[in-house]
């Protein structure tokens, strides 16, 4: 039985090791006694004799450990690890301090890096969210505004835009009175164009998203609901799919849910086809359009600078075609992430740098503590000078 055999070998090695250890102890003790006797017969007091004899004892402990290790066939890294474990076991307080210090450094760095990873690297729960941008307009004075629906439409049709972007879409926001049980609440609602869900790239955990048919003006009224409102106000009822609720006095069927954290725009709890928006005349106006968003997805390999350059032509053209509303306004953009969490990137990167610096400091600290211990060494340094003349050297090299 292989298990028993291994156990026997291990037990035997343990016994052998102890035997070797004992033998070395006896040999050293004998040597020490002989040395003390010699010193006494040379005229020293017993105390001096013993002290003198012990001075020579320096490299012996190390030698004993090395003998053990060589007999167990360790060398190189294994040897160093065993030395480390032994010396740490000899001074548990130091070991505890060192381990706690390193743990602190690692803990801080891990916490910061996981935040940064979550916010900057992973970002929003949309497909390739780093390429989603919010489209804005900016005038010569540096003021920003959200573009109107007609402007977004013109942008969509422009070939220069198509070169830089996979898609571009307009969203109208409004508050809708929704009956929930006995009460009526105003819920933020996003009126979206047909390409919206495909553009952001998201999959519903339950039900489905809006389809092309849903966007027909005469289609039955449907909506997609946010995960959070479903949990908070609809009790996470699994029967929500297919249920009809009153939205702005219009019976609307809920066809699906968005995944948690996927609410864009941030205020929205319902997504409804823009074709069913009651106030269509608002959507026809040019110029400033509050309560709206225009978002786009950059093509792979295109960055916001080149995208903005690609849009300059259409921007200037609209400015000349509609001077009062569009004159002087050029397209600009921001990563979608910034709208949601603000421009935290510099702050988070600084935080990461600081955390890494802390970790480096911690490691340097522990390293110097270890060095201090090593150079202090066992017994005294006088033993080193005594045994040096006849070439002690570490038996690592041999």
């Amino acid at each position: 039985m292989p298990g028993i055999r291994r156990f026997v070998l291990w037990a035997r090695a343990l016994v052998a090791r102890r035997k070797v250890d004992e033998e070395l102890t006896r040999e050293m003790r004998f040597h020490l006694e002989m040395e003390v006797e010699k010193n006494i017969s040379a005229g020293m007091s017993p105390d001096d004799a013993r002290r003198r004899a012990l001075v020579d004892f320096g490299g012996v402990q190390r030698f004993r450990e090395e003998v053990h290790d060589e007999r167990r066939g360790l060398s190189g890294l294994g040897l160093d690890v065993r030395h480390l474990v032994r010396s740490l076991r000899a001074s548990p307080l130091f070991a505890l301090i060192a381990i706690l210090t390193i743990a602190l450094g690692i803990g801080i760095t891990t916490a910061v890096v996981s935040i940064v990873d979550h916010v900057l690297v992973r970002g929003l729960p949309f497909r390739d969210s780093g390429r989603l941008v919010m489209m804005l307009e900016r005038d010569e004075g540096g003021d920003m505004r959200t573009p109107s629906a007609p402007t977004a439409g013109d942008w969509q049709d422009d070939p220069g835009v198509a070169r830089a972007f996979e898609g571009l879409t307009f969203i109208r926001g409004d508050g809708m009175r929704v009956a929930i049980g006995e009460a009526t609440e105003t819920l933020g609602t996003a009126f979206v164009a047909p390409e919206f869900f495909r553009l952001i790239g998201v999959r519903p955990p339950h039900g489905r998203l809006l389809s092309a048919d849903d966007h027909r003006a005469d289609a039955p009224r449907v909506a997609v609901m946010s995960y959070r409102i479903w949990k908070r106000r609809f009790g996470a009822d699994p029967g929500i799919i297919g249920r009809t609720i009153s939205v702005d006095s219009v019976p609307t069927t809920i066809v699906g849910l968005l995944p948690p954290g996927a609410e864009y725009p941030g205020f929205a709890e319902l997504w409804i086809p823009v074709a069913h928006y009651r106030h269509q005349q608002v959507l026809a106006r040019r110029g400033l359009h509050a309560d709206s968003r225009t978002i786009a997805r950059l093509r792979p390999g295109v960055d916001s600078a080149s995208a903005a350059a690609a849009m300059r032509d259409i921007g200037t053209r609209l400015g000349t075609e509609y001077p009062p509303e569009q004159g002087g306004w050029l397209p600009a953009m921001q990563p979608l992430r910034n709208e949601i969490i603000g421009n935290v990137q510099p702050m988070l990167l600084t935080l990461t740098g600081a955390a890494i610096a802390v970790l480096l400091l911690v490691c340097a600290n522990v390293a110097s503590l270890l060095l201090a211990r090593l150079t202090r060494g066992p017994v005294s340094s006088r033993s080193a000078t005594r045994s040096a003349p006849l070439g002690v050297g570490s038996s690592h090299s041999s």
């Binding site: 040999e27 004892f57 012996v60 045994s387």
Partner: protein, 110 residues
């Protein structure tokens, strides 16, 4: 009084082998004998002695066993093996060659 002299590791092996060739001895005895024979020039501490003995034993040039001393104490005695005797001869030869080479250089320098 002790005087420190710089000697290399190989030379220590040579001294130990020579010392053991006269008579099997325990570790302390070897170091004591070398000290006497060299008129106190060489004082070998445990830190150098026992690693060297261990090395020689691993090479198969000495063997060890536990015996009782005259004072009825237990000590580990070392003895030269046949290979050790041959090695001693070789080491002495290479030492003498080394020394005469150094002498040759020293004599010719102006």
């Amino acid at each position: 009084m002790s005087r420190a002299a710089d000697v290399m590791q190989g030379t220590l092996d040579l001294l130990i082998l020579k010392s053991l060739s006269l008579m099997p001895m325990h570790g302390w005895g070897v170091s004591n004998r070398i000290q006497q024979l060299s008129r106190d020039a060489f004082q070998i501490g445990q830190g150098s002695l026992y690693p060297a003995l261990y090395r020689l034993e691993k090479k198969g040039w000495v063997r060890s066993d536990w015996r009782t001393t005259e004072n009825n104490r237990e000590a580990k005695y070392y003895d030269l093996t046949a290979a050790g005797k041959r090695a001693l001869g070789a080491e002495v030869d290479s030492w003498r060659t080394f020394v005469s080479a150094v002498e040759m250089v020293l004599e010719t320098s102006a």
